[in-house]
Amino acid sequence: MTLGEAGQGGLTIEGLTKTFRPKSGPVFALDGVDMVVEPGEFVTLIGPSGCGKSTLFNIVAGLEAFDSGHIRLDGAPSHDRLGEIAYMFQKDLLFPWRTVMGNAVLGLEMDGLSRRDARERIGPYLERFGLAEFTDAYPDQLSGGMRQRVAFLRTMVQERSIMLLDEPFGALDSYTRTNLQQWLMGVWEEIRTTVLFITHDVAEAVYLSDRAYVMTPRPGRIQTVLDIELPRPRESGIEITDAFLGLERNLKAELHLHGTDDHDG
């Protein structure tokens, strides 16, 4: 894949700034964020709570305006990105009144697909996502891990060239989390869309991504970019190799060097 091809999922962010202005006084959320994400890359944003990661995602998704800077999709300046980028929020946001199938087809429904076509497109994935027996179940009958898988399925089948995943495994226990990380890698190896992924977890960042952007506390800025040059597909057991542990150590050092505090959010 070459950089800048239309619809390939390349994303360029230049000098992005964002200040919130509530009555209590201005809050500088982002201060000159630069990022280059090439098509098909898996890129992680890591940083302390409140460093503006989610704000950055909201801006990239088109939900929020920004003060200055540029966002380009595949090299072209982009103004309204709503409907162009698939976004998986921190909360699973499954609609309690829709079944697993109903939730999974939501994005397709918004794209104007008929109910039947949408269900047909979901069908093949249900088995893969471990949801086949739960097609007609309501979300409150599902475990946390299953709910995240439904939310991911809903995001993935929109077939956008860029996916934003905001701490999708943040609320899960470590066992479920590890399982879902491996599962996500498996799925992603097949679809290879551009992914931007927010996490607090250093090991998760190293395991999943091609590159990790470390952000500073408010105002959010890119502090370091760390290339994760580990072979793909990432085999299980990779997390105890020297290369992995070295990268994990580097990333931790970056995060702690600048007095980041992970417990303020």
Partner: protein
């Protein structure tokens, strides 16, 4: 500690029965519960006729109130000026006493069902509209943002997220409204009607048939209970995913 509420009702009714028999009170003043049941059975044809009219009044009134409440609830939610300039007036209008308004409505619209239904609508519209407006306003912002990232505009946000997530509050409002829909109909009929439970009560009072006045009271509250139950059943059907929190689930 405790027993089924039905037992309480039976205890009170038994005490009433015994007290009236023991004190030998005249039936025109206070009939016994068994007298009331007998009288109801004997006059069942008229009683049912009156009940049927009152039911129709309630359905017509509540039905129109529901439609109007959905329209107003959505308008209040969608437009700031409706919320600021019209909504407060609707809220204040609820202080108008039903007993005072009913005669005016009868003067304007006559003795027919539609006039009584109008009174029912006036008083059932409000709790439904308020519940819906609140439900719509309390929709999860992130859920709406999710839909916006999928390209949804205002109309689809309303239909796909806001309305479904306001449904349980809408039904709560409907239950509240239903609990006084029958009362509103009966009071409206008190003021002037040809048929219905209200005018039936008034006629029986004038004829010193206290037993049948009690009979009509019994039927009105039974109808309220049934309609209330109907709303609960309807909610289960419309919202199969919804599990109300009962005391047993309290954590």
């Amino acid at each position: 500690m405790g027993w089924p509420p039905l037992v309480t009702v039976l205890l009170v009714l038994s005490a009433w029965e015994l007290f009236v028999r023991w004190q030998d009170i005249r039936p025109a003043v206070l009939p016994t519960p068994t007298d009331v049941l007998d009288a109801m059975w004997d006059d069942r044809a008229n009683l049912w006729g009156a009940t049927w009219i009152t039911l129709q009044t309630v359905f017509l009134g509540f039905g129109s109130a529901l439609v109007l409440a959905v329209v107003i609830g959505v308008l209040v939610d969608s437009f700031g000026w409706v919320r600021r300039s019209i909504y407060p007036v609707i809220v204040v209008s609820q202080t108008l006493p039903i007993v005072a308004i009913a005669p005016l409505v009868v003067i304007w619209f006559g003795f027919g069902i539609s006039s009584h239904a109008f009174v029912v609508a006036m008083y059932t519209f409000f709790p439904v509209a308020v519940a819906l407006a609140q439900g719509l306003a309390s929709t999860d912002q992130d859920a709406m943002n999710l839909l916006r990232t999928m390209g949804a505009g205002r109309v689809r946000l309303l239909l796909k997220v806001r309305f479904p997530s306001a449904l349980s509050q809408l039904f709560t409002g409907a239950r509240v409204a239903m609990s006084f829909a029958v009362i509103a109909a009966v009071i409206a009929q008190f003021v002037g009607a040809v048929e219905g439970l209200g005018i039936y009560m008034l006629t029986m009072k004038n004829a010193l048939r206290t037993d049948l006045v009690f009979g009509a009271v019994t039927v009105s509250s039974a109808v309220t209970l049934l309609l209330f139950g109907g709303v609960v059943v309807l909610q289960r059907l419309v919202m199969p995913w919804y599990r109300p929190k009962t005391q047993g689930d309290a954590r």
